[in-house]
Symmetry: D2
Subunit: 383 residues, 4 copies
């Protein structure tokens, strides 16, 4: 697709995601990790204004000079910003202001994209679109949190069913031989800096499950006392369980002795066949320990991925988020994109039911702190 067309498609999708919302839903930030939907809409627009339009379009007039303060996420080099916990305290700019901001920036961007751009600017536009796709994933994740933590449990879309487990024939475990594997992105298409450089890794022989763990299997773990037996847990996971009084995945509610969970359609009975979702790394590893198994490393995952069905759940791996050999940060603000988060987080691989089409790939590395559950996370076992 031509870049201008691609721009239009991606930008439109953000607004389509928000279409079912009431104005009030755009505003709130129930926990620090969740951003208000209107903030996502503004921030992704700010990215194009700040990195494309302002430096490269000589006669471009900034939409509103105060927006840099409001919509900068974490770029230290681009000035002061609203502290993260404060995003949900801002009633202004209003949703309609942000929609005008989008329209204004889109018009200037589409004008810019009418002409062939130099390669570095094209790369920046592509980065901006991939960035917006990441925020589309976050938009759906955050919207689910906002509605799913409201005492009225409003539906997002009464027709939208949660992802089902893919059906496949064949063996339960994929056998992978010992050997050298190539890891990381190589090719013509887009990738993030953290997927590079492609390099060789030696792996021992291993087996990886061809299925994700289902709700029914996870209920077995719960029934077997998984949340009350410290032996399955990391020490900090065990502290987390006790302090947060966790006894089920996020969004699960025991109602009259039956497990329900919040879905796009509102509160529904838990579907035992669906892959378990919204669990922390602590829970994933505790489940694996209970089964006498483990999680795959990110390298094991990537090596096996061409033979696996994936894409409904982000899958926790037993790899910390660290740089690949030869990793370098881009100069300037764009260099703040990934590298500075490479400590204290775990890698997830795959993609999920809220990942935009064509956004993920086998080398894609997502990363979260081990206690976080609001993403559409799941479990695949290895041994």
């Amino acid at each position: 697709m031509h870049l201008k067309d691609k721009y239009g498609v991606v930008r439109q999708r953000s607004e389509t995601i928000c279409a079912p919302l009431k104005t009030e839903d755009y505003v709130v930030q129930p926990v620090v990790d969740v951003s208000p939907p209107k903030w996502h809409l503004g921030h992704t627009t700010w990215f194009f204004e700040t990195f494309l339009l302002k430096p490269n379009v000589p006669d471009y007039t900034e939409f509103d000079a105060d927006y840099n303060f409001v919509f900068n996420s974490y770029y230290e080099s681009v000035g002061a910003r609203v502290i993260r916990t404060n995003r949900g305290n801002l009633s202004r700019p209003a949703v309609e202001d942000i929609m005008r901001y989008r329209e204004y920036v889109d018009k200037a961007m589409l004008h810019l994209l009418e002409h062939e751009l130099p390669a570095n600017l094209q790369a920046l536009v592509v980065l901006g679109l991939n960035h917006e796709e990441q925020h589309q994933e976050l938009l759906l994740t955050d919207i689910k949190y906002i509605l799913g933590h409201n005492p009225l449990f409003p539906a997002y879309d009464k027709q939208r069913k949660p992802a089902a487990a893919p059906v496949h024939d064949g063996p339960e475990w994929l056998e992978m031989p010992e050997g050298m594997y190539s890891i990381g992105y190589e090719g013509e298409g887009f990738c993030f800096d953290n997927e590079q450089q492609r390099h060789k890794v030696f792996l021992q022989q291993y087996r990886i499950s061809t299925d994700l763990v289902t709700n029914a299997e996870y209920l077995d773990f719960m029934a077997a006392g998984g949340y009350t037996d410290f032996r399955y847990w990391h020490a900090e996971g065990w502290d987390w369980v006790k302090q947060q009084q966790v006894n089920a995945p996020l969004y699960w509610h025991e109602v009259d002795g039956r497990w329900m969970y919040y879905t796009w359609q509102g509160l529904q009975p838990v579907d035992g066949d669906a892959p378990v979702c919204h669990i922390s790394y602590y829970e994933a590893t505790a489940y694996a320990a209970w089964k006498g198994k483990r999680l795959p490393t990110e390298f094991e995952w990537e090596a096996a991925a061409p033979q696996l069905q994936w894409g409904t759940r982000w899958e926790w791996t037993e790899s910390a988020y660290l740089p690949y050999p030869g990793f370098t940060k881009a100069p300037g603000a764009i260099g703040e994109y990934n590298g500075k988060f490479m400590v204290s987080q775990m890698v997830l691989r795959g993609g999920s039911e809220v990942t935009p089409p064509d956004h993920s790939r086998i080398t894609y590395r997502n990363f979260f702190h081990p206690n976080l559950r609001w993403q559409f996370t799941g479990i695949r076992l290895a041994q």
Copy 2:
């Protein structure tokens, strides 16, 4: 005014106060003490539904059973409720839902008020209206906080000027002789339970200022290093100054060496003649100590009030909020109204520019924790 008419007038005023808001402004809760405007609109309605309609109108159908959880403020006897810090995380019920709720309850209330009610129910309606008037004061206080802490500093009403100091002739200090004074409410009209019982208090001779402290006078205190000299402060006030890095009243910003403050009209230069506003008890007492004066007690204030001009600022007194002799709580949920707050708070007397007309009176007792500044608080000295 007939009670039914009074009901209509008071209920309408809450909505008029909110008329200049955008939908987004109804939703946020930037600090725990501030409630979202839509919550105020729902909570005041819930009061009538819970205490008047549900117990007394046999065929009344509750608007939505989940609203009790959302709009109960602090009544332990009326069931579980959204924790206070969570009010700003709730996008639903939407503003339009709450407006429908108001309409629904108003219709039922007006129907009820068409007939002569027994005295105890009339008293409950009057209490509900006074309760709503208190929330109107809070609505304006909270709206100012929401807009005044937004980085865009949007105006609430470009025409609405802040209260000016009343002009009066005559001496600066009112001399009050030693003697017995009667304190507390007595009469036919409405009062809160905490204004009773009327009782005798002996006061030493004292003098009380006929004027409130102005911004210009307070700037003198600031210029004299008032915020950096511990000698003027209570120990916990001094801790508060250092921890919060306080160096001016709330809403004040030093812009290019000049003091500005947020007003209904947006950011404006500080008006030296206006009475100082938005200060904590700590600041009020530090200012008084710097002047070699003190604050009046609530009894001194009440005894002198008929000879004073008041009503633009809630005035901090040197009295803790404690029960009067013979104070008793009403039975049931209504008994939770005042008595349970009678610890760790200071009394304010008077009323302010956001107090609804005819809502305050000489015996009225407001109360806040000594660190709070978002109310329209001011300083009157005594010696």
Copy 3:
């Protein structure tokens, strides 16, 4: 007693109190309100060195210049100091160093006291001794906390019994007529600044209990569900009960269905006849509310005190700690003694089993935050 002799007696008593301790007991600070015993021993010594010796003895050589930083409690005018929560982190100065410090300062003080001092210095010495007596009370209070919160429950003194309730004949309630009463200290002896000025107060007719509430009576409150019924509690008291999971006075432990409490002799069965001890203001007012009574104000207490037996428990009053009419702070550091604490605390009257002999008096005003229980606090009812 001659001042020099008095000095010797008071100073010795601090060391006698600590005699049963092991060196380790002098060091720890299990909560912020408790200071390590060695800190009390150093701080009271520092008072004499700082306010008497250094300014008034020309050839006096400071014992150790670093001690000012370590032993200043809260005097802003005397320089920086160890933050309060850090007192228990300091292993040095060691106990033996502090004992040498005491000896060194005592020698200089006794030398100073051999001659007749001017009145202002005599007053400072008397203040220093009263200050040390206050710390003797705190020493016993803090030692009880340190030993009573150790999992081994070591005894302080196996022979020392807790205070028993005084036995008296006569009516249960003392009737006090309406009228003018004089409150505050007047006379030749020592008093703290907060007991002045003596002034007239008008009191309504009231009744005050001639007995303190006993453990047996308090157990009735517990058995009646006093800790689980919000109606008896202030809102902030109720929050405190729930957050701290309070269900009995401090030091009480239910062991095999029977209530035990930590005493000087170690863990003992609760004595039903003894006055209840170690309760917060919240608990005192909740108990009173459950009985349909209230606490006396500090003025009611003082007016009735000559006809009451008191002195085993500090008694919570329904009065906030505020200045008397005409209260003024002394100039300089000594002026920081009392006035700066006159906010957010409640007054206690009487004295307790750990108050040094002749230290308390009818006009004495103690004060604590309403949640604190480690003092030997009790309940006397009024109505």
Copy 4:
């Protein structure tokens, strides 16, 4: 050495380390990571009593049943325990009690060791001794913290100099070829479970520094504004710098414009030639980024170690603490030793000036959270 002799030597060394302390120094816990020295002495003894004597010596009489509560560190399977932050609040058991406890247990252990033990018990004794050696390292680390954070800066040993950088000839960078390397412990001697299993790892070509970074080099980083330029820092490292107001390694104090640091001998001028010490992972990586270099992975370190001089500083690596392929936890309480900490921590390799002789080895894996600095940590660069 025979196991019984080894037992005597190791146990004695713990007491020798504490010999210079005053009784008070054994008691305090200035931050949660630091344990009181007397707790270390008791806990290491508890290990032998709990895992060797009680299960295996039929007529063994427990020294004191309450000690399990006091001295259990983190073994969930061995019952309740003092919460970690509370260790410094316990004045009892006194030091002399703990010394008696050591004597009592040692006597029983030495008796047990007179006979040839089955292999599994021998292994447990060896584990207990290695455990005690780890606590000897912690003892010195914690003692330095306790004394070095005292405002009097007392010396631990006026004769003991800090470790100097080893002098070596030869090139600054060691070149390591691409290839397969074997990682992990294999052999007859003792190792911890986390060093197993030995496995093959493929490494790209790399270079590793033959020297540790010195104080002089680190001062260059400081002078170049290293602590004020976000570009060198992880995002969470940058937050840490700002929140903790970090501007130098732990123990450093700028006195009259000159950098001093606390050493065993008290406060001393910083020695530019000594290897930098007491820095966090955040600081190590920021320094490396400033130099345009990186830290080695733990595999690169282990592969190069036979050709390096090491042992004065624990060296931060760019590897998260994760299980090796085939890692399994031992059954029972001993299985809690290492595995449950394998999340959110970084690996350190080498050993330090406080590591007991013969305690470390090339395959040894230490691990800490990235913000911790009280260990004797240092920096070795790679590229």
